[in-house]
Amino acid sequence: MPITFRDKTYEIKPGITARDAIKKIGMEPEAVLVIVNGKLVTDDVVLRDGDQVKLVAVVSGGGSA
């Protein structure tokens, strides 16, 4: 199943938690939020085949003034 982050797409096998999926693709769970089928969810949610999964980086904007 595809997981999108910015302009990239990653393929992950369903049946694992979003947190494990984030780690599998080499990202830090603290650094992203998870949106499944258009809804913001906690990262303990188990991803099912057919889910639309999008990760949103929590870092945005510019540097500190």
């Binding site: 830090e28 650094a31 939020l33 929590v58 870092v59 945005s60 510019g62 540097g63 003034a65």
Partner: protein, 326 residues
Amino acid sequence: MKCRKCNTNAVINMRHHKLALCGEHYGEWFLAQTDRAIEKYKMFKRDERVLVAVSGGKDSLSLWDALLWLGYPADGLYIGLGINAPAPYSDVSLDKTRQFVNSEQWAVNSGADSQFAIRNFVPTLHVVDVQETYGRTIPQIAQEKNRGHGKPCSSCGLTKRYVMNRLALEKGYTVLATGHNLDDEAAVLFQNTLRWQTQYLARQAPTLPASREGLIKKVKPFVRFYERETATYALVRGIDYIYDECPHAVGNLTNFYKTLLNQLEANSPGAKLSFYLEFLRARGEGVFEGFNREETLHACQVCGQPTTAPGKCAFCRMWDVGSVVQ
């Protein structure tokens, strides 16, 4: 995971607080925590004129939204930096900021049935375009002056601090609020601790009073929120912010320290929070007092703003402001 308050699906699990909440209860919690921080760190009172520095990002737009929702008459200041390559970062961030203020999302927030309602207050967005005002964009001035080892960040920081301070004072605001979150503060603290920059440590605080004439009071109401918490608030509230980072911030040292601290946090929930709050406790006990040197300030001979060295201030030197005037 379920919301602790209503048992519906949670949108966030804050392991450091052992608290999971749904969107509705998270919004309430977030606003209450913001108000608590404003009071705890003596940031401002309800009748003060607050200017929020807005960038179009999640932190600053969420801060503006939260302050309006809480009943503070807060206006916004956007500084157009002219960072539009390789992507139109500045143009998009200004669009997001204008969308926010024009959407009147804040007006819905402060509806008549809200206990926090602001009566008859319409927030103003001040826009200062650096190229229009000073003749060049931030990348252009950084390249021209060869500052920052190929990165415009130091030129950008100097310009933003100057413009924010000057406009806030000229327009009669009593306090300038920025959207710095706990991850920002912990990363700076980590950097300054690694180098034992004691003078910087002595000056790092949620509230910097207007201790000298010509300097606006600066506050950071989001210092107790993790970055993921401000992002969650923005998503829950439906705030359309710029998702991308500034192209010049990608891969910078602050982000590297944020990554290290997030790895620590993953194994030890609450590590970032205790690192920062214990620093504030130590600072409050006077641990860094001896390092806070009181510098003599002079009025810049060109703009009149406070500066540590006699003559022109760093801003006027960088932008050649005096030579333009003369």
